[in-house]
Symmetry: D3
């Protein structure tokens, strides 16, 4: 009889970013984004938790080999964003404000095609220990 | 197309409390609450995680500015309970036993009117690293 | 009016294990399980989080006395698996591959009869800080 | 040939306390101790790390059996301070202000006679994750 | 009789930086600093632990009021470096490579004049959970 | 003018072990090592912190490139002990009881020849979050 288990893998990357709306004035951006609107950028150690839900394979006892999942995350996320300036060095955030909410959805959408469609995918992203997000909610 | 993201903010406060039922005898309270029924109180470092679920604003990329959320939590929760004796110094626990289960619901109910009704609200409270609660479940 | 709260209790145990499928060749097991297939075993510090959901008792303010829950976990899980070789010393994993997915379901099924049927039960198991599982999902 | 190794054991207790100088006016105490001078007390989850330095016994490979050290800490510190009001329930802080600095020295002095004099003893005490102390320094 | 106690206060800031030697070629900088030499910068959540050693004041039981220490760190360190680009926004790292080793010494030297000369000062800086430094050693 | 900075790098490995003295009877080993003497082994997630003290190179701002230090630890320690049975799979613990005290000294002695002799080396090893050791002390 089938039963579903959630499996989780934690990874991390370090990046610089700046929060602002290109269509707004400097005053508007300062009012909304404050210190996060520093035009010279600031940065974070991002912690990422990828969650998959599915039925364990009876032959292996695995929902997925977490080494395989780790490799997918490294290829799609870490190689793309680690030690990068999200605004300047990535196509994903060239026009999209790199808030935690937007980053976590971009990461989800990068991973989704690489994960078996039978598995549900949720991504949690820690911008700091005190501020974090999850998608989908 | 709309999509929902969860955002989380962590805060903390330190408080004293005593667990007991005023309608019970000392022997009943000792039997049920043990050391937690010390009439001179004991205390905890409470860690609080507030979770909101909603659609990011396309103009900002925020579900809510977490600085705004932090300020609401500080006004409604931290100012009320930090460095307090929950039994003696608060109206909320004058008649209500300050178990983690009751505290987390009180905190939820204090925050709910301050948060946009379009956003779902969940509160997690750590009494210790090993004992914690969440409401609603 | 009734309302549901989740309560959580964290416990830990240390154990040795080996991942392999007895019906496979050594080459197949090496290909799938790699280092985890060491015939001399390796080991982990397992962290366990038990979650129960129910209505707090109005007389106590408790969903369950977490001391009682801790004692149940110690009797059913810690006494059985702590400082053990999961493959050699337990009946549960004599024929079942002790992956995190299988361990978390075994722990759930050991605890379920000991917990009031009105309470929902979920178990999370950390094999390492970076690899963890939850059941049911 | 002898060589020295440090061994560490972590324990915890929860307690209420109030910081004030009995010889001062209320205004003086408020000015110096602020919220920590709440006459109804507040509280903390204290984390304690006991460090011993000595030569491992060649027969066992132990500086000390950490189970033995844990039992000593439980007898001398946890049984005395856990779920207590430090000001009201203990002889140690009946006249001594229970600052982290004073608590850590009291704990050291309680443990010192129970530890082999050949072993150096240092105690670290976390009042919160952000405020902690160590003695001797 | 006097006795010395160490007190610790933890703070944090987020910043962007780039590691390189202005006197070197790009090839030399890439060979030595790799990803950390990204000309568009990357960033970190820096955790800072400030340690002071001294004798507790018998009247207060404090080596220093940790609220006062926290305010000094906020004025000298957090206000200067939080949400900044260390290379572009600070005079301290305009010519000095912002490695963790150099940042921790700069922070020490900023704090030293603000701390009573009777107190020993040590600063620990976490660039990530896995890479950290301390000065003086 | 030269100044010394400490740099730290954290790594981890998972291993099985059994604590016992080959020259003792089973009864003696049970009396001293208890559950740790399980003849079928148990295991741990070991966390390792390697500390080096030296003067930063003025050209790089590094005491050592922590990527280089990480590679040395991976070659000398992780490749040797990760996913191994310390008693059965290693020459280091074929005759030496793998207590944390003995493991940390073995790791130190493996790393020492690979580290520049101008740098002081200290190793901390966490067997669990609550039991850990450091060498030299």
């Amino acid at each position: 009889m089938a039963h579903k288990v959630a499996v989780f893998r934690k990874e991390h990357f370090n990046a610089a970013h700046r929060l602002y709306n290109k269509g707004w004035t400097d005053a508007q951006n300062d009012a909304v984004f404050g210190l996060c609107n520093n035009p010279n950028y600031h940065g974070h150690n991002y912690e990422l938790i990828v969650k998959l839900v599915g039925e364990p394979d009876p032959a292996t006892g695995y929902v997925i080999d977490l080494k395989v999942l780790s490799d997918i995350v490294k290829e799609e996320v870490i190689a793309r964003f680690d030690h990068k300036n999200l605004n300047l060095d990535t196509v994903e955030f060239a026009e999209l404000n790199p808030t935690a909410e937007n980053i976590v959805k971009v990461i989800h959408d990068l991973l989704r095609p690489r994960i078996d469609s039978k598995l549900e995918l949720t991504v949690r992203l820690y911008e700091t220990e005190r501020n974090f997000v999850e998608y989908p909610a």
